[in-house]
Symmetry: D2
Subunit: 153 residues, 4 copies
């Protein structure tokens, strides 16, 4: 039990180190104001406020921005074990429109993981908890560590 | 034949009018530097240069930006008949990484369309013609015209 | 509260009546030995034993048979409100192989539903609870009732 | 050029040998009456007649049967290089209903292939050439040859 707790604490520390390393280099996420809310092994929660430059003329958030938020959470969740992992294919279903000023939160949870592939489910909700989109991502592990020398989970 | 040609020319003019109307209000597409290359009935081609604020620390374009380009071409293709149409669900497969400075072109072609739903296939290639991603979008027609009074196709 | 309970009991009775009506006509499901385990409003659980004529030479269940089981549960869940509803597009991820003799259970739960479209998540597990596949289905409501005159939910 | 022609002829012979080897063990395909029409490197065409035990009470073909036909063509196309390859995730869009007695043909073409993953597009049409469904499959290569010792393509 103590060993399990150690392992679990180690996996959490690793996930946090990986996320910090990724975020420092993640120009795209920062340019969109995507913030890291929480991360853990196989888990990430990220938030983004819908800005004027993310909407069309009806103040409806561009679907690509909703996807980008979800895809970012996906990337942090599936790289949290410090194995370099890339998105292979992703599907998104748009449930409700998000509007300018809405604060969207994407929650990514790994459903399954093998040595080479992973499956992650992401939901995007607004500040009222309303479901905006669901996203399912398939990842592929490639060679290397995200944070070299930090170990793996 | 003359009637067919008239109808076809009318559909082309309508697609161009709709695209112009959409683009004028499309803050998100313009903020990302997405340009409209060509449009027609059930067709759109759009281009985007991968900027420094679209990449991660390895100068690899964020998947969300590739999606956003493809999704934009999808929107212009499926709205080209002047019936307000929204994305319902979309799937993207990432084939090769795009890098900073690459000029990506998304080509959207409608595969099928009923009174209420549509299916569109989009490919994203770089300036050398290399395939970057494929995208399949399902749309839903809702009430109204994109450009009120311009008719429909 | 009593009214809510009545409504809920009515929705459950309707789901059961619709399922019985569908199953009586469902030659394909019965030919594959797919049985209805449980049904409710926006919910269905169905089971199938992997037979010799569902496998390849390695006794691995054909992916199409796993899909068919999941798709059947999807149909019963999204028609449970007695509005005729058809599958529009579906995606399946294969997690683990099922073998001859395995008893597979598909559990379908509606995630979202509007007047015209629906989203349903289905998981397929074996007799040991091992995850075999996940399936996400998008449905489209068309005109008519499944069981004419039985009302809707 | 002669070398290219030899290589191409060799790839065609290999695809045919692999298909014959797979079909001999493919109880599921044969139980459904799925026949192999043509095969080549990264290509397969298969046909199936919609039988009474493949339909519901309205004589509409079960979506799972349409998927199974497409998935079978997918398997033969992506294994045609004699590297054991399995479906990872697949998406199908249903365009039109098929009816009892219809002869459906699935045509599978590989769009992209790396050492470990592949992407294949499949269309399903009826005897009149009407589009019934489109299917996109992602495959994963695992260790081994389909026909041991026959080489690879």
């Amino acid at each position: 039990m103590a060993a399990d707790a150690d392992k679990s604490a180690g996996a959490q520390r690793l996930a946090e180190a990986v996320a910090a390393g990724m975020y420092a280099r993640d120009h795209a996420a920062r340019a969109l104001g995507i913030g890291l809310v929480a991360v853990g092994p196989g888990f990430a929660k990220m938030a983004m406020t819908v800005r004027a430059d993310m909407v069309n003329g009806h103040d409806i958030c561009h679907g690509g921005m909703v996807f980008t938020l979800a895809d970012t959470a996906f990337a942090y969740a599936c790289n949290s074990h410090n194995r370099v992992t890339v998105a292979q294919n992703c599907a998104i279903t748009f449930i409700a429109a998000a509007r300018r000023g809405d604060v969207l939160t994407a929650t990514a949870e790994e459903r399954h993981r093998t040595a080479r592939t992973g499956l992650c489910d992401i939901t995007v909700s607004d500040q009222a908890g309303k479901l905006i989109a669901v996203f399912r991502g398939h990842s592929q592990e490639i060679k290397g560590e995200v944070v070299p020398g930090a170990g793996d989970g």
